[in-house]
């Protein structure tokens, strides 16, 4: 690679080893004669193609693979949990099985980052089953019929639906104070349940009658028409496990009539790439504290949203990352406002989205891509699509998917312009992973875990609570520390809130 020098606009964005830091970039040294690599109309962002390559979904995909295969998932930081969904006040639990959400929070040691660890959450799939969705007569909501246009499928669910008897919560939640809430928007739906109460099929399940695989289709839920019982799902980014046991995207066929939906695996991460935020770092893992008050350059202030966590009894702001397992906090959301210069360096990059099937660009993201009520996010609409734009999987989520053996489809936006060969580009990633591993392994042992507590004690920290809300998809007030049961190495569950500890 040619010699470079740092951009004289300053190192906004962190200069960590991760490529996912928005903003920082290098400019070619103009001391030598070189082809022009800048573009017009790109403002102060020279060589924006290089930057775009680095920010591409492909880079995340590839880097996830590097992390999974070289650095490895550090199982010392794997925290499987069971979340007992709290019942509303005044509701008594029923007999038998209680509602649960199973998941895992995985820590990724991270070089040069505040708190030293990024936490990635995975909620296992199939926890929500549409054979548990009934209309007022008790009829089950199977897939009755499907119509489609270029971009969407419109799925009619079985049952009698009307304004008086719309689809039940959480699909469609009537709201006395305004528009109905649709918390499941953005979830991945899969037609994997063949019969009520049946085990969901996997991509390998054979139909004994035909000796062929059943296969299934998954797509993102875009909208819910409650009074008519219609779900709108994104066809363009759909995904099919075909009878040949391969994944196809977009799917070649719609959902199968007569089956029941279930939800897919859901991920969320605290990293600045997933959250589209760049935290202000006051120290790094080397212990070289920058010792400065975090600030955002006024020119970089953007519209965005941020959370403020407060003590429920005193109302005092409590942003500490180390806490005990009994301290629940209130979260209030400030949204559609200028970002918080004291906490976030940057809310992240804006990027162009993929083209839809209608060849109409989806346009840049807005920060109004969610709805909120009483300062809490009630739905997201930043949808996942496996090509270029998604509820954007970061490298940590890709690493988990590689580790799970679900090789995500290789994004189509392979870097098309680099100053070195693509082989060298990949080798750089490998070298970077190797270097990061060596560095973090030692540095983190010294102080990384001293900066932030581990799950579930950090779940109510400002870094994790928004992530847990996204992951569990319950109102933030329903995320209670006493409802987490963590699984220890023997497989037993313990309750940190009651002072229980894992087996030694």
């Amino acid at each position: 690679m040619s010699s470079t020098k740092k951009n004289s606009f300053g190192s906004f964005g962190s200069s960590g080893s991760s490529f996912g830091t928005f903003g920082s970039h290098e400019v070619p040294d103009i001391g030598e004669i070189k082809p022009i690599t800048t573009e017009f109309s790109q403002g102060s962002v020279p060589n924006s193609i290089v930057r775009m390559d680095r920010e591409s979904a492909w880079s995340r995909w590839r880097r996830g693979y590097e992390i999974a295969s070289y650095v490895g998932i550090q199982h010392a930081l794997t925290y499987p949990f069971e979340y007992r969904v709290p019942l509303p006040e005044g509701t008594l639990p029923t007999e038998g099985n209680q509602p649960l959400i199973l998941g895992v929070v995985q820590g990724f040691f991270t070089a040069g980052k505040e708190f030293g660890v990024h936490w990635t959450g995975c909620r296992v799939g199939s926890i929500l089953r549409f054979d548990n969705v009934t209309d007022s007569t008790g009829a089950l909501a199977s897939i009755a019929s499907i119509t489609q246009d270029d971009e969407y499928w419109y799925v009619q669910l079985s049952g009698s639906w009307s304004v008086a008897n719309p689809l039940p919560p959480p699909l469609y939640v009537p709201n006395p104070n305004g528009d109905p809430i649709k918390p499941l928007l953005g979830e991945i739906l899969e037609d994997r349940i063949l019969t009520p109460g049946g085990t969901p099929v996997t991509k390998d399940t054979l139909n004994p009658a035909t000796d062929k695989r059943y296969g299934y289709v998954q797509a993102i839920l875009i909208d819910v028409d409650g009074p008519n019982g219609i779900l709108k799902l994104q066809r363009t980014s759909s995904f099919e496990a075909s009878p040949d046991n391969v994944y196809l995207t977009p799917s070649t066929k719609p959902f199968s009539v007569g089956r029941y939906f279930t939800v897919g695996t859901r991920y969320a991460c605290t990293c600045q790439d997933f959250s589209r935020r760049s935290y202000t770092f006051m120290m790094n893992l080397d212990g070289k504290e920058k010792n400065r008050f975090p600030f955002t350059r006024p020119a970089l202030l953007k519209y965005g949203r941020h959370e403020v966590l407060t003590d429920p009894s005193t109302g005092a702001v409590n942003n500490s990352a180390m806490t005990n397992a009994n301290e629940n906090r209130n979260s209030s959301l400030t949204f559609e406002s200028i970002d918080n210069p004291g906490i976030f360096n940057d809310f992240g990059g804006r990027y162009l989205r993929n083209f839809g099937a209608s060849r109409r660009a989806e346009g840049p993201t807005t920060f109004a891509d969610y709805t909120a009520k009483d300062n809490q996010i009630t739905s997201f609409s930043d949808y996942w699509s496996p090509l270029l734009d998604e509820m954007r999987y970061c490298k940590h989520i890709y690493a988990l998917r590689f580790e799970e053996g679900i090789l995500p489809p290789e994004p189509s936006d392979l870097p098309f312009f680099t100053e070195e060969s693509i082989t060298e580009w990949e080798q750089n990633l490998v070298r970077e992973s190797s270097k990061t591993n060596d560095h973090v392994g030692t540095a983190n042992a010294m102080r990384g875990m001293a900066l932030m507590d581990v799950p579930p004690k950090n779940f109510q920290s400002p870094q994790l609570l928004p992530m847990m809300q996204k992951l569990l998809n319950v109102p933030t007030s329903f995320i209670r520390l006493e409802n987490f049961r963590m699984q220890d190495k023997t497989g037993a569950f313990y309750n940190p809130s009651a002072g229980e500890s894992p087996a030694t």
């Binding site: 209680q98 918390p183 329903f478």
Partner: protein, 73 residues
């Protein structure tokens, strides 16, 4: 002597020592603890019996309570 095109026996006959060394898949595996509950496609409490609160219903109850200003119990 075989002619071209004839089907011949191609299976390699393993010796006793080779057979013993290839018994990997049949040997007893020792492990302790339980594997992490962490696999996509896992199913929680399947199926919910009639009368039980499913996760779907619990999530719906939580959001409905939230919309009405009711907190967790």
């Amino acid at each position: 002597m075989t002619d071209f095109g004839e089907v011949i026996e191609t299976r390699y006959i393993l010796s006793e020592a080779q057979l013993a060394a290839s018994q990997f898949g049949f040997s007893e595996v020792y492990y302790s603890g339980s594997p992490t509950v962490y696999s996509p496609g896992d199913v929680v409490h399947l199926p919910y019996a009639s009368g039980e609160t499913s996760t779907m219903q619990a999530l719906g109850d939580a959001w409905a309570a939230y919309a009405s200003g009711i907190g967790p119990g």
